[in-house]
């Protein structure tokens, strides 16, 4: 019995020494906290799950909405925020005023489609004038001349267009109205781009979230609304090909959405991708970003933690991109990855650059 106890204690002490040894050679896993946009949340969850398997670093992302993400970033309660709309010049100036500096890196590209429900019709083409006219309330019938002009091969019914919009304030609405403001002077003057809009058209119906809008569209013949591409493809909802800036009618796909970022991207990646110049790009696409502080020595972060945060961000824009398309998010183009890598080089800890 005594022998057994001695053996046990020897084994345990050897194990303890071994485990300690492991600990000292391998870097300690860190926990990284993020919060923000709901639109890319499924992708982030997948990415961070894979990242945990790779590195044992736990990244906790809370999908509380873009506004919430920006707020939490500003209050420094998170390591990074997620947002569907980049920070405005004023917001950036406000952050500079308190002595901080914010950086954006894009993680994926989302496309918003103009979805519709017309019995027997699965494909229509819409010009920017038609889309803005419909949402301004000047086009109310499906057989309006402006719609018919682009759809000679389809017999459009003399039905009322039942508009469906988002009832909750959302990045999807922002991207869509950003497009409307780009293509219609009247829209940009009256409403601009916003997460919530006082829709001017009559009898507008609103659903909560992408599923709510998608549900209303499938329920009502004659309806038209805007939803994320993935919701349309997953629910078998028809959507329109849009005439882009170059005059080509482009079907929304992950490829054509990704093309929207093929043009010139500014060094800070803060750019709206709607109404892109690229000839085969889909018109209503948008980056979604992760935002974080340039200087990471705040809130008691150690240099090790700061390094791990940068490593994680680097992984998201490079190896992490392999998970985008399986989850219906468009990849960011190679050129943008290069730009984003440059941005990550600016991150500092105590003024010292973290990545080479």
């Amino acid at each position: 019995m005594k022998k057994f106890l001695v053996l046990c204690s020897v084994v345990i002490s050897v194990l303890v020494v071994l485990l300690n040894g492991c600990k000292s050679t391998k870097s300690e896993p860190v926990e990284i906290l993020g919060a923000g946009a709901t639109f890319p949340a499924p992708l982030y969850n997948k990415m961070f799950d894979e990242y945990y398997n790779l590195t044992k670093n736990k990244v906790n992302y809370q999908a509380i909405g873009s506004g919430g993400g920006i707020k939490q970033y500003k209050e420094k309660t998170v390591d990074f925020g997620g947002t569907d709309a980049y920070l405005s010049d004023k917001e950036i100036a406000d952050i500079l005023a308190v002595g901080d500096s914010v950086l954006h890196v894009p993680t994926c590209i989302g496309a918003v489609v103009v979805a519709f429900n017309l019995p027997g019709i699965t494909k229509i083409k819409l010009s920017p004038e038609a889309v803005s006219g419909i949402f301004l309330g000047t086009i109310t019938k499906w057989d309006d001349a402006l719609i018919v002009a682009d759809n000679k091969d389809v017999t459009l019914p003399a039905m009322d267009i039942k508009l469906v919009t988002r009832s909750d304030s959302s990045g999807t609405t922002f991207v869509f109205t950003d497009y409307l403001a780009q293509v219609s002077k009247e829209w940009s003057e009256k409403f601009g781009a916003d997460k919530s809009i006082n829709w001017p058209a009559k009898g507008v119906l609103s659903g909560k979230g992408n599923p709510g809008v998608a549900g209303l569209i499938t329920q009502m013949p004659g309806s038209l609304g805007y939803i994320e591409l993935s919701y349309a493809t997953q629910n078998g909802i028809s959507y329109a090909a849009l005439k882009n800036k170059s005059g080509n009618f482009i079907e929304p796909t992950l490829g054509s959405a990704s093309k929207a970022a093929a043009g010139s991207i500014p060094a800070d990646t803060r750019i709206s991708l709607v109404d892109s110049d690229v000839s085969d790009a889909y018109s209503i696409a948008s980056f979604t970003w992760l935002i974080f502080n340039k200087e990471l020595n705040y809130g008691g972060r150690t240099e090790h933690q700061a390094k791990e945060i940068v490593k994680m961000l680097q992984w998201v824009i490079t190896d992490g991109q392999q998970y985008n398309e399986a989850l219906d998010y468009a990849k960011i183009p190679e050129a943008t990855v290069v730009t984003a890598k440059e941005i990550l080089k600016q991150v500092t800890y105590n003024g010292k650059t973290l990545s080479k």
Binding site: I64, D168, G192, G203, S206, K208, G212, L216, S223
Partner: protein
């Protein structure tokens, strides 16, 4: 203070035992008194906690909405504006939407819940069918509201679209005030019905038997004895269910169409206070957030007022 009291009691009992005057019974009586005292205080404390909770909630709601109270003042309650671009907010559209759906729902539910409570309370007091109806009604209360919303969305919507066409209403989507009200009505029936049934069962048997012995028919017993006697209780059930209808969020959000405007008819779309809060708070900040919180305060106030009016009516009725 409690300690002091306990010490006094303990000392007292020890003294009595020492002097040989006390016995086991008086000791256990005193022990009971201590327990009773503690129990009493615990009850009082929990009751006070609830009061504190409600008052605290009202205070925080007012404090957090100070920005919009300052900016819009009383206008908030009388204007039908919900303007995101210029950050001007008024609650009239949502107040009308909330009251309209709730009261229409109440009107629709009353005949059903009233019939069920009289049927189960007078005509079918026991037996398989009685139990079956009772359980089914109570089951309605246990269904989560999102399921009602879902069902309404996929089944009621298309039906209401045809109904609208039948009544000659053009361009109705099938969603709106009337669709939400019907679903709300189904949701509140179990509350009114089960309280009504219990109150009716409480009507003294000798009153009912007396009426029968005087040659009254069942119908006469119901209309002249049971219903007048149980009225205040039934009405209390109605008020309770109205409270539920006022605050219902999910099912209404899915069915009302979420149009921030005063509804113009039964088939028109609208929005309610609870629904607009649920829809917009996640991305709100500044004045908009303050306005949403003020809306929450308005909803609480409406519920309180409805409850007070209800209590007043009950008091008036039971005095007669």
């Amino acid at each position: 203070m409690v300690k002091h009291f306990l010490n006094k009691l303990r000392k007292g009992s020890a003294d009595t035992i020492k002097e040989g005057k006390g016995d086991i019974i008086s000791f256990s009586l005193k022990k009971d008194r201590i327990l009773d005292y503690i129990f009493n205080k615990i009850l009082l404390l929990s009751a006070l906690c609830i009061v504190l909770f409600v008052v605290g909630m009202l205070i925080t709601l007012i404090a957090a909405s100070s920005e919009s109270i300052k900016q819009f003042g009383l206008k908030f309650f009388v204007t039908n504006i919900w303007d995101y671009k210029n950050n001007i907010y008024g609650s009239l559209a949502f107040m009308t939407g909330t009251l309209a759906t709730s009261f229409i729902a109440l009107l629709i539910s009353l005949p059903f819940s009233f019939s069920i409570s009289i049927l189960l309370g007078v005509y079918l007091r026991e037996g398989f069918l009685s139990n079956f109806i009772k359980v089914t009604t109570e089951l309605l209360a246990g269904i989560p509201s999102v399921i009602y919303g879902f069902w309404g969305f996929f089944f009621m919507g298309p039906i209401m679209r045809s109904v609208a066409v039948f009544f000659g209403v053009e361009g109705s989507s099938g969603y709106g005030i009337i669709t939400s009200s019907i679903i709300l009505a189904i949701m509140i029936i179990p509350y009114t019905a089960s309280i009504g049934r219990e109150v009716i069962e409480l009507v003294p048997g000798n009153l009912v038997e007396g009426a029968y012995s005087l040659g009254a028919t069942r119908f006469e017993v119901v209309t002249k004895i049971v219903v007048p006697f149980a009225f205040s209780g039934i009405f209390a059930g109605v008020i309770l269910s109205l409270g539920r209808a006022l605050g219902e969020t999910m099912a209404v959000t899915m069915l009302i169409g979420n149009t921030n405007d005063i509804p113009k008819g039964l088939f028109s779309t609208g929005n309610t206070i609870a629904s607009v809060i649920a829809n917009e708070f996640n991305e709100a900040s500044g004045v908009k957030m303050a306005s949403l919180i003020e809306l929450g305060f308005v909803l609480m106030a409406i519920t309180l007022v409805v409850n007070f009016i209800g209590k007043y009516i009950i008091k008036k009725m039971s005095m007669e």
